[in-house]
């Protein structure tokens, strides 16, 4: 058994700690009234298929890279040939684009591999749904999200394919060839 001094001092120390804590400010955020800031590259939201803000054309070229990389294998894309785009990124489109959000684990790999920044995450919470069908993000739903992002670009996650590739660029941070003596 510990000595009497340890018992008295230790107990007083613990109780003094809780007493001091009682006069501190609380940490709770009263959620619906006060919302915490959503970080810029937040990746817990829903998905969107983006549009080119200049021409209004869809960015997805149906290349299926996201389908190949997805570890949960929840993305299904099929390709469709169409009219060439005005902004010159090709003449292929996705015919069907289905993302089964139920099994998504938010790893962001699909966004990282996208060559045209077509798929992004939104910084808005995915809305609650009443049936599992509601979590099946079909092309229409993703495009609706994309239209919403056109109206409010701040809702898009900052982590787009371009930005992620820029981060992981093998030449990043190295002195450029002409700068080296």
């Amino acid at each position: 058994m510990p000595s009497l001094g340890t018992i008295v001092f230790g107990t007083l120390q613990t109780m003094g700690m809780t007493l001091r804590a009682a006069f501190r400010r609380g940490n709770t955020v009263p959620y619906p009234r006060k919302k915490r800031r959503v970080p810029g590259q937040w990746r817990a939201g829903s998905f969107a298929l983006t549009f080119d803000p200049a021409t209004g054309e869809e960015n997805c070229i149906g290349c299926r890279l996201c389908e190949y990389i997805c570890p949960s294998e929840i993305i299904t894309v099929s390709l469709r040939k169409g009219e060439p785009r005005k902004n010159g990124i090709g003449a292929t489109f996705c015919d069907a684009f289905v993302l089964d959000y139920q099994a998504c684990m938010q790893c962001e790999l699909c966004i990282q591999v996208c060559p045209t920044d077509a798929i992004v995450m939104t910084r808005a919470l995915a809305p609650a749904v009443r049936s599992r069908n509601g979590l099946l993000l079909t092309k229409e739903r993703l495009m609706d999200n994309g239209q919403a992002l056109l109206a409010a670009p701040a809702l898009a996650s900052e982590a787009t394919a371009t930005k992620l590739r820029e981060w992981t660029d093998a030449a990043r941070g190295l002195p450029k060839a002409e700068e080296t003596p």
């Binding site: 109780m15 809780t18 007493l19 804590a21 709770t28």
Partner: protein, 325 residues
């Protein structure tokens, strides 16, 4: 006997009023506990139900518990199982009847009210044992067995500590005990009073099931212990019984150690009593939300090796003092 309890009708009306007030107080004690605990843990506590500060939360809890499904396990002993909550609540509330709220005024002012009170306070444990045994659940059974061990040991120093006020006042009548404190509260008697109060406080933690001596509903080991199979209103009764029990013990401590209703005359006596009760209750909460739980063998060792000898020596000193006075 007080004039308030004359006549059957009067008794019924008075009992109903006291019961209603007591249950409301108990419900709001849960709110107080949640708020105190939240403050100590840097949280807010109940806030949204009855905005701000959740003052309707107890009401919501009671309504929720009443409309929840009431389940009796098939293998349970039905009679004891249903009797358990009552056996906890009734004695705990009965204890209040003996607490004097003004000079010579208590609902029951018996010559041995002191002893009656302690007897009724111990009776709640019978309900706990009935619940633990009849649930036919191994966790509840372990809890009931722990209760027997804890009650058998902690009752002894508790009664010995309560002997000090009885010795000093020379009476077992609570109103007399309070009146004997007019000069100096019993906690103020050098050494004897403080040691007795400390021992009583520690035993009160064990009796009221509060950490660090909440051995019998150690929910990290025994899940919900003796009330693991209870739901709905029966669970609510257990909950209320536990708080009423704690409050009754606080009221007793305030009465026999802290001068009961005595206090400066600008406030009526029962307000002083309530204030002293509340302070003691918050102190118990403070201890509860600060300390971890002892193991059962350690708790019982502390009782037999420290509390009991200390209480005995204390009684001896007090007895010599009273005789020599």
């Amino acid at each position: 006997m007080s004039a308030l309890t004359t006549g059957w009708l009067g008794a019924v009306v008075l009992s109903a009023t006291v019961l209603g007030v007591a249950m409301t107080i108990v419900a709001y004690l849960t709110w107080l506990e949640r708020k105190v605990a939240a403050r100590m843990q840097n949280r807010i506590g109940p806030y949204e139900v009855g905005f701000p500060h959740g003052w309707l939360q107890p009401l919501a809890d009671v309504v929720k518990l009443i409309i929840k499904e009431d389940i009796t396990p098939r293998a349970a002993d039905r009679i004891l199982f249903n009797l358990g909550p009552l056996l906890v609540v009734v004695p705990a509330l009965t204890g209040f009847a003996f607490i004097p709220i003004a000079k010579g005024l208590a609902i029951v002012d018996h010559a041995y009210s002191f002893l009656f009170f302690t007897a009724f306070a111990s009776l709640t444990l019978l309900g706990v044992f009935a619940a633990g045994w009849s649930s036919n659940n191994k966790y509840a059974l372990l809890s009931a067995l722990r209760m027997v061990a804890m009650a058998a040991s902690y009752e002894v120093p508790m009664i010995l500590a309560l002997l000090i006020p009885a010795l000093l006042s020379g009476s077992f009548q609570l109103t007399e005990v309070v009146e004997a404190q007019r000069g100096l509260w019993f906690i103020g008697y050098p050494l004897v009073g403080q040691v007795a109060f400390l021992i009583f406080l520690i035993c009160a933690l064990a009796e009221g099931n509060k950490s660090p001596l909440d051995i019998l509903d150690a929910e990290s080991e025994l899940i919900a212990a003796y009330n693991v199979e209870y739901s709905g209103i029966k669970f609510a009764l257990f909950y209320a019984g536990e708080y009423a029990h704690t409050l009754a013990i606080c009221a007793l401590a305030a009465t026999v150690f802290l001068g009961g209703y005595l206090g400066p005359a600008f406030l009526p006596g029962f307000v002083w009593l309530a204030a002293k009760c509340l302070v003691l209750f918050v102190v118990i909460l403070w201890i509860r939300w600060s300390l971890m739980r002892l193991r059962i063998d350690q708790a019982i060792r502390i009782n037999w090796m420290i509390l009991l000898p200390a209480a005995l020596v204390n009684v001896l000193i007090a007895a010599f003092w009273v005789v020599g006075r």
